[in-house]
Amino acid sequence: MASLSQSSTAFSASFKPTLACSSRVSSLKSVSFSITGKRFPSLTSRPGRFQVSCSAKPETLNKVCDIVKKQLALPDDTAVTAGSKFTELGADSLDTVEIVMGLEEEFGISVEEESAQTIATVQDAADLIEKLVEKKA
């Protein structure tokens, strides 16, 4: 009897941390949803380790294009495609850094200096954002 009650308390003690863990995880998930404001599909169809270059979601790309247009004060009919370089759109290096900071603020991510140096086109920026958002979520 005593041993049974002891084992039952041991079981309940072992269950409690897992419950706490799962609730913490779920609250983290809900916080990340409210920050990004969009639902991620839980299982993407991306294969294992391969980084497919055209893997940025279209809404991310659209947001990046909007921010770029607003930052460089381009008229709305300028074609900002995924492959357009920032220098082609008339941005100097300070503009590029400012665009990256604007994207940091918009998506709530933090870009390191080395990664920021490699951003040359709109597509690069969108891919980097995707990677960082997934790492964070």
Binding site: S93, L94, V97, E98, M101, E105, E113
Partner: protein, 132 residues
């Protein structure tokens, strides 16, 4: 007082223009990352957007965009870091921030409207800044 955040150590001068450029970008990133804190400290959430403050910082950097001497750039960066430290450690007050960085970016040349209407675009740009 919390003035210990001030970095009194002066880093050695930049060797080349490239290093000075990197320091400028590092400073710009540090300033942009401290903008949310600044908006929180001085209650600027209803007055201005973070993107506006970012563009103001960028404009200040661009004012000296044609400088090529790395030592001069280091000096400007030192002053900029001092200003940033002052702002983030709340050594300034709200009206300082609003007056210097939010409103009245034209300096002392306020556009009086009726007097300047005949002025050409060239003159207007000339009054605003040296580099156009």
């Amino acid at each position: 007082m919390s003035f210990t955040l001030r970095s009194v150590k002066v880093p050695p001068n930049s060797v080349s223009l490239d290093e000075a450029r990197h320091r400028v970008f590092d400073f710009f990133r540090a300033a942009c990352r401290s903008i949310p804190t600044v908006m929180d400290i001085y209650n600027l959430n209803d007055v201005v957007a973070p993107s506006h403050l970012r563009s103001v910082v960028a404009a200040e950097i661009r004012k000296h965009a044609s400088v090529t001497n790395p030592k001069v750039i280091d000096m400007l960066l030192f002053k900029a870091m001092e200003e940033l430290n002052n702002i983030t450690e709340h050594a300034k007050q709200r009206h300082h921030i609003i007056g210097q960085y939010v409103v009245g970016r034209e300096g002392l040349m306020q556009d009086t409207g009726a007097k300047d209407q005949g002025a050409s675009n060239f003159l207007k740009d000339f009054y605003k800044t040296n580099y156009f």
